[in-house]
Symmetry: C2
Subunit: 218 residues, 2 copies
């Protein structure tokens, strides 16, 4: 007895202009020729699921070293008109400076998605829902930021993901109280205003936060 085909699709998020963006590819051939789709591809015979997602992001978008987690497995028997393919969807996050990928790939703002091939719209919707949930109790948000960032940038990331504005004073108070940021003692000067202090996220300090039952809600 042989099985069905298995693919891996990835919803790759990045921040652009204080908006969440998703990486989409333009499909060149049927089915759904001319439509946009998530970067994805078939699982190789001896490949881990996550390794497949990494390989596909490298091949199709020239990206390396991204944060990845499994999202959900979509198995509607009719999701691919060519025949049964179940897909293991993933979420990936990259910092804003990530270079614009090759020709047929582009960053698309989440609020202006075109029609997507297959059930990819459902996958994107679910990915956003999951990201919104997760950012409130885990430090995934920092994966959307460069290594060194300002508090305003963190707040903008949270606002972009959650889709609502947050109170500056409360946000900073909460964020700093978690003691997971290391101040770099430097500031970044941009434009005719007060320079912003730079920080770095210290992964190692996060452990204590979960243990204390402390969460990360704004």
């Amino acid at each position: 007895m042989t099985g069905c085909r298995v693919s891996v699709d990835t919803v790759l998020f990045r921040l652009g202009l204080a908006r969440l963006q998703v990486l989409l590819l333009r499909r060149l051939r049927p089915p759904f020729a001319g439509w946009s789709s998530l970067p994805g591809g078939l699982l190789h015979p001896r490949e881990e699921l996550q390794a497949a997602a990494v390989r596909i992001l490298r091949q199709r978008a020239g990206l390396d070293d991204v944060y990845l987690e499994q999202l959900f497995t979509f198995g509607d028997p009719a999701r691919d008109p060519r025949g049964r393919v179940i897909t293991v969807a993933h979420i990936a996050l990259v910092p804003p400076a990530t270079p614009l990928p090759a020709g047929d790939a582009s960053w698309t703002p989440l609020h202006a998605l075109p029609r997507l091939a297959f059930d990819h719209r459902r996958i994107v919707d679910y990915a956003l829902q999951r990201l919104r949930g997760k950012i409130e109790y885990s430090p995934v948000g920092f994966r959307l930021l460069p290594e060194e960032f300002t508090l305003t940038e963190v707040q903008e990331a949270y606002e972009a993901v959650l889709g609502r504005v947050l109170d500056k004073r409360n946000f900073r108070k909460k964020l700093l109280s978690l003691k997971v940021l290391r101040p770099l003692g430097r500031a970044r000067k941009v434009g005719a205003h007060r320079p912003a202090r730079l920080y770095r996220f210290e992964e190692s300090r996060w452990e204590g936060v979960r243990d204390k039952g402390n969460v990360f809600v704004f």
Copy 2:
């Protein structure tokens, strides 16, 4: 190009003697003959993933009408010695009165698991972790209870899942403040002590709870 095989495995939880139990099957044939394993089986060609889980629970454990949700997809290329099989793991919850299933299936307390076939131990561990997380912000806990229950039974369910004791007064205060239970105005008499009032979970009242950002933490 043909794919690998896809199976569906389910971690089926129930409460027994105020302890969490898992349904295990005894394997009759290799690989892992004589070991215990989760109820699982191969996905059929035109079958939804969740439908496969339902079918397998009916076939292998004689169960119907269980609460089911997808857990995670495990894809280690070496997880099955016979060849590549990726498995879409699910969590299922049933109330305590669920009849003891057929011959080769048995309820096993979580704290006394035998060696499990394949990577099933990892799957059970992850399922418990997920259930613990989820019970704190969603009403899944009621799926482990009969339709009519006492507040003490709810608390015992939470204690069994979370693995720690909870304060009776605080638990009741919080639970009742959510306004998701309908008091039945009746009581259940058992033994030489005050009868316990019966309640029913009102699914329809849950919506407002999530919307208000209210959560379910003890």
